[in-house]
Amino acid sequence: MKKNKASRFTRINGLPWILPAFVFVVGIIYYSIFYTFNLSALDWNGLDPIQTRVGMSNYTKVLSDWIFWKAIKNTVVYFIFTFLIQNFLGFIFAAILHSEVRFATLHKCLIFIPTILAPATMAPVFRLLFSPQGILQDIFNALHLGITVDWLARPNSALFILMIVAIWEFTGMSFILYYAAMSQIDREMLEASNLDGAGNFRTLLSIVLPNCKGTTVSLAMLGIIGALKTFDIPYLITTGGPNHATEFLGTYIYRQGIRQSHLGYAAAISVVLLVLAICGAILVNRMNKGD
């Protein structure tokens, strides 16, 4: 029924509505993308008037670069871990804070503030926090736990700590979006479910979660792309170290392009990143439709 009634105005041309946004975004961003494509076929340091064309060799170099693959592995691990936990927590927080709890505003602030703090500022704070000279070590010492907090110094745990930092930083965003989505849910549906005797968790799973699907999909898409683009946290806290243990595509591109002036190579990695991101987005979309 719904579809029939809808068809009357879906014939209205929506083009003018999307065109300004489209032109604007495409203009600025696509120009940069094509510029990058061009760069990736060069061997150039950004200054020489002469630019050497090297065709696809930058790309073959990328694919045989162990650091590149390490970055990919880190990205995958990072995405899975942070996506699951961050959005789970964001969802739970949104659910709890939509209920009757005290000090709601305070809690909302505490979850939200991490999102607005510049990573550059917080990086030294975190380095200290996760070092033997920080308050975590003091707490462990007081509890006689015999654990040494040198987690950023060890290649294995460094990545883990960065993921914790990422979760800390982005739960707030997940929270805001789920909160907005939940506010769209029909109150009566919830009450009906409760009257039917469904417990809180049941309601959460079978009514609230499905209604937030759009948000979850958006977050998944942003999550994949964000994981690929990750730069601030690994660069500022560990600089991709120790010895590339926390290297990501973003940090590698920055280092190759700006620090080591291999602009062509950096551009090639960027293009690969772009391709991966598109694949990721398509994947999310497929999974969404398949439901």
Binding site: F22, F24, S32, H98, I116, N200, I278, A281
Partner: protein, 262 residues
């Protein structure tokens, strides 16, 4: 979302919330303590004494306002268009915009730099507002579109029967209902434009034009790195965002209880 009836469960929920929030608070506490390390609150005075705080704040406000305006207008219109209207090749357009989302900011620097140089746009606010807005839009359009899809078509039908034009439908029906997502979009855009660092650093040269995010520059020399004042500057920078967020939260509540659906 949770219907809590018993007192015991109320307490349990409160405790769970508290436990979940504590880990988020720890780094914040460390940060605040850091900002009053050494000479205490005089750090804040030292930040103020750089003399540029009011100017930087003003510039950040101008830039954020510009970005939010652009993003809001384009997101609402494009979101509506994608969700509710007929467009030839809609999916293609949508995907093209989404691809733009994949771009790390770092990549934009070289091409923008070359372009702005040719157009003599250095040291103008537009040089910062335009790229930032362009970077926000793919995601905010995605958000708006998803949200608008959730608005029942019957409402628009009803409006149409009343003889409303597309624009009126948009203005009087859709827009009020999008308050929750609009607030989210505004808050997220505010965060990203207020915290913008690379673009202002590159394209705004004179102290008259720079933004709050460039305050720490004063405290970072080659061999100096005055954490206490940098953190104090960070706290000052964060305050307007927190206030804006709290105001927007109120907007959520309003949009929610509007019950416009009935």
């Amino acid at each position: 979302m949770f219907q809590i009836r018993s007192k015991k469960n109320k307490v349990v929920l409160q405790i769970v919330l508290l436990l979940l929030t504590i880990p988020y608070a720890i780094p914040l506490v460390q940060m605040f303590l850091g900002s009053i390390g050494g000479i205490g609150f005089l750090n804040y005075k030292a930040v103020w004494d750089t003399g540029v705080v009011p100017v930087y704040f003003r510039n950040s406000i101008i830039i954020s306002a510009g970005v939010i305006l652009l993003v809001y207008i384009f997101s609402m219109t494009a979101g509506f268009g994608f969700a509710k209207l007929h467009i030839f090749g809609k999916e293609v357009f949508f995907w093209l915009i989404l691809v733009a989302l994949t771009l790390p900011e770092v990549i934009l620097l070289s091409p923008l730099f070359v372009t702005f140089q040719k157009m003599h746009m250095f040291n103008t606010f537009w040089a910062v507002i335009l790229p930032i807005a362009a970077l926000q839009l793919p995601f905010t359009i995605l958000l708006a579109r998803n949200f608008d899809s959730g608005i029942p078509d019957e409402l628009m039908e009803a409006a149409r029967i009343d003889g409303a034009s597309v624009f009126s439908m948009f203005w009087y029906v859709i827009l009020p209902l999008t308050k929750p997502i609009a607030s989210s979009i505004i808050v997220l855009t505010l965060i990203n434009s207020w915290n913008a660092y690379l673009l202002p650093l590159l394209f705004l040269q004179s102290p008259q034009m720079q933004t709050v995010t460039l305050l720490p520059q004063y405290f970072q020399g080659e061999f100096t790195n005055d954490q206490t004042k940098i953190l104090a500057a960070a706290v000052l920078t964060a305050i307007p965002e927190i206030i804006a967020y709290l105001l927007m939260q109120k907007n959520f509540e309003k949009g929610m209880s509007a019950g416009a659906l009935k």
